[in-house]
């Protein structure tokens, strides 16, 4: 288990955020700090509000109450993320992947990554139509960078295949490469391991750690697979019914009766008894049955 690489700088500062849809409270007074360089995992049962949290962080939803301050890259001045458009937040240095993979299926793997890379480029339609030198240079740069990213996620050999023709696990990795293409300070991964096999999960864990260590990207992770979460996360936050019920290191969380109760649907008292006997793998098997937290 790797040691936290945290610098103590806050990347995301979420305070008292409440998000409602009609009468349904999706997030209830959530407080959360994410520090630069750490891998923070958000876990919780289905419907706990994990994806709502992600969507609030990336500007898809606008919470009714609370503040979200963002300073994605080192040296950034914190700005409010509330009310900003998704693409603006992306430009502030936040990239994400989706729970149900959302690639551009009719583009090749390389083109998918290039789309990400090129959102940081400048050449406009006229330059493109006339093939001006700057546009050519940018085109070359974006191809090189996209290739470099594909290589780092192990997809270089499949660069010219259509995204839709890649295997499931490959699509997951391609989505990460595309997100990295936008040169983020924070990357939000929404259940990256869903639907992958154990070998792929191991590769994925390595990839997440590599992204975090080598690129210095902070990682916010939603994941059901406890084994993966426990192996890569520096810190965990547990949500249930839109509320934060626990926060701490993997070891602390595993022993937290409130968390076990949330997962098993029992009371905290019963759960605290269980904690003594149940192993982590037990929880794992119980939890890994479902996916689909929209």
């Amino acid at each position: 288990m790797s040691t936290p690489a945290s610098t103590g700088e806050v990347v995301y500062d979420v305070r008292n955020v409440t998000l409602r849809f009609g009468g349904v409270v999706s997030l209830n007074d959530v407080n959360l700090q994410m520090f630069r360089g750490e891998i923070l995992a958000v876990i919780g049962p289905n419907g706990a509000g994990k994806t709502s949290l992600f969507n609030s962080l990336t500007g898809v939803y606008t919470p009714q109450e609370g503040t979200i301050m963002l300073a994605a890259r080192a040296g950034d001045v914190p700005v409010s993320a509330i009310g900003k458009k998704t693409h603006v937040i992306n430009h502030l240095g936040v990239a994400r992947t989706f729970q149900n993979i959302r690639l551009f299926p009719a583009l090749t793997a390389l083109e998918n990554v290039k789309v990400g890379v090129e959102t940081r480029m400048k050449s406009g339609p006229i330059a493109s139509m006339l093939g001006l030198p700057r546009q050519r240079r940018e085109e070359r740069e974006s191809t090189e960078r996209a290739f470099e990213l594909l290589r780092s996620v192990g997809l270089a050999a499949r660069a010219n295949e259509l995204a839709s023709s890649l295997a499931y696990g490959e699509q997951r990795r391609l989505e990460i490469a595309r997100a990295l293409g936008t040169d983020p300070g924070v990357i939000l991964l929404d259940e990256p391991a869903a639907g992958t096999n154990p070998a792929e999960k191991r590769e994925l864990a390595a990839l997440i750690q590599q992204i975090n260590a080598e690129r210095g990207v902070s990682v916010l992770l939603i994941e059901h697979d406890m084994k993966l979460v426990m192996s890569v996360a520096h810190r965990l936050v547990v949500l249930n019914f839109g509320q934060k019920i626990a926060e701490g290191s993997p070891e602390q969380i595993q022993k937290d009766p409130a968390v076990v109760a949330a997962y098993l649907g029992t009371t905290t008292e019963e759960a605290s008894e269980l904690v003594g006997t149940a192993s982590v793998t037990k929880i794992d098997t119980d939890l890994d049955l479902t996916e689909g937290d929209v």
Binding site: E118, P125, L130
Partner: protein, 757 residues
């Protein structure tokens, strides 16, 4: 039609016995076929009734014995569909497809096409020419024999013989002799047809733009090729594989063969000089202009140089292709281009001379030319292209997609026939229109060309960015009105310093359309799919109604008129377009080529990929940092400005327009063209527009004028049923369709998603 659904139904949930299910499916299919026959009977039936005799045509159409014939057709279709699975394996055999295509081509030339321009003989169709030629004693007996002086069905018999021979060769897979014999005979018959027609033509002394004989030749040659394919494949591969092998073997060869055929016909069969009362081949032209003051060079060209140049180019190109010799390729290409220029010079020379003496009402050079010179030009272009391809061949073949190579280029390299096809398209775009009749030239410049330009523009919006725009014609209107305003043909006059010639109005039209596109787009682009469609539709209608109602500004329903034709005065360049239709064609060609080149770059640029991204998944595109509103606005504005250019061209070419030209129906039609051709594919959109604007004009002679729209509707419907991705699907779109098939072919996912387009 409806039968298709039954064929593919497969896997119903009900657990009836298989036999019973098969019987029900068969019954359904039969009902479908009979329904089809019934509809066909209505479509081909008598014209409408009147107020007093409502349903007259309906009764006439469905009563015996007519309906009986159509019932038989229905049964035939039923049998064909039922036994289709048994036919399919044969279809993939080598040679079958070219055989079918060739036979069909010959049948088309015998039934639909003109064999002479004379309208006296049954509108110049084969059916009218054949008996006339067969009975006229003055015509060469060999030609008469073809038309049936001995046996009236001769031409059909010839077709039957070669088809039977090649078919037999296919049936008995190892008989290469039969294939060679059939193929060889077919080519001989093709030349015979060409010869026979040229004999009749010189007898009739009519100027000739007919294509019947040429197409027949083409059909027979195709049959001939199929015979050779059969002979050489020994039942091993399919025809496509064979062609691919030929292409891999000697890349320039197909082009050389095509160039040879066209060039030979141009030199030895077609007319070079063709005023209203004669058709002079190159030899006769040479004699006619002997001693008329034609320059020595041109005289020499007509007498012998033409042959030397053509055969030299042919042999060089052939040798270069065969030897795959780069240097020879360059030499062939160079010689081809030189010969082409020389040919054009000579054509200008002698037609100019004829025009000087006001020969047969000619008003200038290029009048009264026959088809021969243009055909030779086309052939030389093709040969030069072949040489160029050979010269560039190895360089094009980049070793596997290495890092740094644009993925699009790598994918495009998959199509090896692409460049050859491009050469053929260039040659026909340049030299085919001059050989067409005035009618087709007019159609080309007033309809086909304009709508191709519009389709290219709309393809950006609909095909690439995935925004359904039902008011596209509004920008076309804005372009047209801008031109009318700037040339001072509206009730409101421009300030004098702004009074411009039409071509100078183009930048203004582009800017105004860009602004209009942004103004419309800015508030509405956050709307999705169908909401955007109705808003753009409304915008189109608003523009038209405002134009129609604002009489003091736009001259209302009477529209603008007397808009001057385009002209260019830049330094030594001084061109004024007037009545010569062909001039407009080349102007239009310049526009289209520029736009295509620019847009082709755009498609494979950052912006092109961003469009694809928002089209595929807007949410993901946003999360990846794409400013979707800006990107959509760009699509809108770029599409609009193309439309504006088309509007300028339209206004100054036709010279007058009314608000009626910008009705909603036209917007819908352009969308139909783009989708018909293949959304998101530049060649597709162009082909779609070209085919669907060509079709009604073609149908002019085939069906009652009133019914043309009905047939076009049917064609669009059939296309969408059987080839929903369009005529030439875009690579990216094809992938979408393919992806859907692969992921899940169950019925439920086929229900389109609610989002986006």
């Amino acid at each position: 039609m409806s039968t298709y659904t039954d064929v593919t139904k497969g896997g119903g949930q009900s657990r009836r016995s298989d036999a019973a299910e098969a019987r029900i499916a068969l019954a359904k299919r039969f009902a479908g076929c009979m329904f089809l026959a019934f509809v066909l009977a209505l479509m081909i039936g008598t014209q409408e009734g009147t107020q007093d005799d409502f349903g007259y045509a309906f009764r006439k159409s469905v009563f015996a014995p007519r309906i009986g014939i159509f019932a038989l057709i229905g049964v035939a279709v039923f049998l064909a569909v039922t036994f289709w699975p048994r036919i399919v394996p044969y279809l993939s055999r080598a040679g079958v497809r070219p055989l079918a295509a060739g036979a069909l081509t010959v049948v088309v030339s015998f039934t639909l096409l003109n064999w002479t321009d004379s309208t006296d003989l049954n509108n110049g169709k084969f059916g009218g020419l054949r008996p006339a030629a067969a009975q006229t004693g003055g015509i060469d007996p060999v030609a008469r024999l073809f038309f049936g002086s001995a046996f009236s069905l001769t031409p059909w018999l010839l077709l039957l013989i070669v088809v039977a021979l090649v078919a037999a060769a296919i049936r008995f897979e190892d008989s290469s002799t039969l294939g060679y014999v059939g193929g060889g005979l077919a080519i001989v018959f093709g030349i015979w047809a060409q010869y026979a027609q040229s004999a009749v033509r010189s007898f009739l002394d009519y100027p000739d733009h007919s294509t019947g004989a040429g197409v027949a030749l083409l059909g027979f040659v195709t049959i001939g090729v199929s015979g050779i394919v059969v002979a050489r494949s020994h039942g091993k591969a399919d025809s496509g594989g064979f062609f691919q092998r030929v292409y891999d073997w000697r890349p320039g060869m197909p082009l050389v063969a095509l160039g040879a055929v066209v060039g030979l016909v141009g030199l030895f069969s077609a007319a070079w000089f063709s005023p209203t009362d004669r058709n002079a081949g190159i030899g006769l032209t040479s004699t006619m202009f002997h001693g008329t003051g034609l320059s020595g060079f041109s005289a020499a060209y007509l007498a012998w140089l033409a042959y030397v140049l053509f055969f030299a180019t042919l042999i060089l190109a052939g040798a270069a292709s065969y030897l795959r010799h780069h240097l020879l390729g360059w030499v062939a290409a160079g010689l081809g281009v030189v010969s082409l220029l020389v040919t054009l010079y000579v054509m200008h020379d002698f037609s100019g001379l004829a025009a000087q003496s006001k020969f047969d009402g000619a008003t200038g050079a290029w009048d009264n030319l026959g088809t021969g010179g243009w055909m030779l030009c086309g052939a030389l272009t093709v040969l030069a292209g072949a040489g160029y391809l050979v010269a560039r061949h190895e360089q094009v073949e980049v070793p596997d997609a290495a890092p740094g190579v644009s993925s699009d280029a790598a994918l495009a390299a998959g199509s090896k026939l692409g460049p050859a096809l491009l050469v053929v398209i260039i040659a026909s775009a340049l030299f085919f229109p001059p050989t067409a009749t005035q009618f087709w030239q007019t159609v080309l410049v007033t309809e086909i060309g304009i709508y191709v330009l519009l389709a290219i523009g709309l393809n950006v919006v609909v095909g690439w960015a995935g925004l359904l725009d039902l008011g596209f014609i509004a920008f076309y209107a804005i372009g047209s009105y801008t031109t009318a305003y700037l040339t001072g043909r509206l009730p409101v006059k421009p300030p004098s310093f702004l009074e411009l010639t039409p071509l100078a109005a183009i930048p203004f039209a582009i800017v105004i359309c860009l602004v209009a596109g942004v103004l419309l787009g800015a508030p509405t682009l956050r709307l999705r799919g169908d909401y955007l469609a109705i808003v753009t539709l409304g915008f189109g209608e608003i523009i038209r109604v405002v134009a129609n109602n604002s009489t003091p500004v736009t001259n209302g329903s009477r529209g603008a008129f007397n808009i001057p034709p385009p002209e260019i005065h830049i330094g030594p360049l001084d061109i004024k377009w007037g009545d010569n239709v062909l001039g407009y064609w080349y102007l239009l060609l310049v526009f289209v080529v520029i736009v295509v080149l620019l847009f082709n770059r755009l498609e494979h640029s950052r912006l092109g990929r961003a469009w694809a991204a928002i089209r595929e998944d807007e949410v993901a595109a946003q999360a990846t940092g794409i400013n979707t509103v800006r990107v959509k606005l760009l699509a809108f504005a770029i599409g609009a400005s193309t439309s504006g250019v088309a509007g300028v061209y339209f206004a100054s070419q036709i010279g007058s327009f009314t608000p009626e030209n910008f009705i909603l129906n036209n917007s819908i039609l352009v969308v139909a063209y783009v989708v018909f051709g293949g959304m998101g594919s530049l060649p597709g959109a162009m082909a779609g527009a070209a085919v669907l604007t060509w079709l009604p004009e073609f149908l002019r002679d085939q069906v009652p004028a009133e019914d043309r729209q009905m047939w076009i509707g049917a064609v669009i419907l059939l296309m969408m049923i059987f080839r929903p991705a369009g005529l030439i699907p875009a690579r990216r779109r094809r992938a979408e369709l393919g992806g859907l098939d692969k992921k899940d072919s169950s019925e439920t996912t086929a229900v389109p998603a609610g989002e986006g387009m």
